[in-house]
């Protein structure tokens, strides 16, 4: 068994890594963080064991890149509320942006736990490893985060009903 061409890794995991970064950072920084993560992954890729869990690996790298960017900004930033994103770009038009803004407004631990468990669909053991916490703490942070989100982010009209069975997802 050998490693697939890296381009296939980018097209397969690019969407999930971008979504994770979007739930942690404003759109422009999110794309930078995702590119940083894939470039770091590209460097290490030939030493990767074929068959290893590439998604957990990539999300772990993306987590570090996002934390780097947040730290850099915290060092330089004047403490203001989150800078509004430029209006009129394709991204701000997406209904998604409201959701990502709500995730980003969560306390850090909840935000990260929600990003890795609910957005990236990683197991709690992986979420715990990325965040350096216990599995129980990862589970609690994700649960608290989703509860808080539910209060802040009312379901938009047109979202799938609660009863939609999994197999009917498009």
């Amino acid at each position: 068994m050998s490693l697939p061409p890296f381009d296939r890794v980018v097209t397969e995991y690019g969407p999930v890594v971008l979504r994770v970064c979007r739930s942690l950072l404003p759109v422009h920084d999110a794309e930078d963080a995702a590119a940083d993560a894939f470039l770091a992954a590209l460097e290490a890729y030939p030493r990767t064991r074929p068959g290893s869990d590439l998604k957990a690996w990539l999300v772990t790298i993306a987590h570090r890149k996002a934390v780097d960017i947040l730290r850099r900004q915290a060092r330089h930033a004047v403490p203001v509320a989150e800078v509004p994103e430029p209006s009129g770009s394709a991204e701000t038009a997406l209904p998604d942006e409201l959701l990502w803004a709500a995730v980003r407004a969560l306390p850090a631990k909840q935000r990260h736990a929600v990003a890795y468990h609910y957005v990236a669909d990683l197991a709690y053991a992986d979420v715990a490893a990325i965040m350096g916490t216990s599995e129980a703490a990862a589970r609690r942070n994700a649960a608290d985060g989703i509860k808080a989100l539910r209060l802040r982010y009312p379901s938009p009209p047109g979202s799938p009903p609660e009863s939609l069975p999994n197999e009917e997802r498009p």
């Binding site: 050998s2 890296f6 980018v10 470039l39 609910y118 669909d121 799938p160």
Partner: protein, 205 residues
């Protein structure tokens, strides 16, 4: 899964959507930065031509692979990842020059290719054959037996045949100009129909 979890998780099969503009930007940025940092070991793109879609791939040394659609581009890319490096990226701009030369060739404006080549995928006698093939000029043909004699191995017509059949750079290294002793086209990596098209093109027909 309820509504909010559904929204967070996103499309069920995001991998199918390589046309997602965010992913396209990501691919382009990663390829450009990989090139700057010498991490782009194999750049590739596809090119639409009168003989179907071609895959072209290059290392920093030069053009390393040309493949016809029937050779299964996914399998070719997997082979490059295994044999050269898994750092294979879609980087069309690195291959713009090759694309332009292929356009010129099919339009009849060019009689050959001026591109650095990387022959690392060919070895031994097969490589020797490939190194002699550019001596067979545009519009000319040579038989398998004649080429065997020219590379100093008369009688090795069959081995010349397998060198052509495994040519990693068809079109650019013109194995389509090697034909059977009776002048009929014979086999070709791209299929016999394509060989006929290329020979006709070069005869000005």
């Amino acid at each position: 899964m309820n509504d909010l979890e559904y929204l967070l998780a996103g499309p069920a099969r995001p991998s199918a959507d390589a046309t997602d503009p965010g992913v396209q930007r990501l691919r382009a940025v990663v390829a450009a930065r990989a090139h700057e940092q010498n991490l782009l070991d194999v750049a590739y793109r596809t090119i639409d031509t009168p003989v179907g879609q071609l895959l072209v791939a290059a290392t920093p040394t030069g053009l390393v692979r040309v493949a016809y659609a029937r050779q299964d581009h996914d399998a070719v890319l997997t082979g490059l990842a295994t044999r050269i490096s898994p750092r294979v990226l879609f980087a069309p701009r690195r291959l713009d020059d090759v694309a332009r030369q292929l356009d010129d060739y099919f339009a009849g404006r060019a009689r050959g290719f001026e591109v650095p080549v990387d022959l690392r995928l060919a070895h031994g006698f097969r490589r020797t054959v490939l190194e002699h093939l550019p001596d067979v000029r545009y519009g000319r043909t040579v038989s398998y037996g004649q080429l065997a004699a020219q590379v100093g191995s008369p009688g090795a017509a069959r081995a010349v045949g397998s060198a052509c059949a495994t040519n990693p750079l068809p079109l650019v290294i013109p194995c389509h100009r090697v034909v059977l002793g009776d002048g009929s086209p014979g086999g070709y990596v791209g299929g016999p129909e394509i060989k006929r098209v290329l020979l006709d093109l070069e005869r000005g027909q």
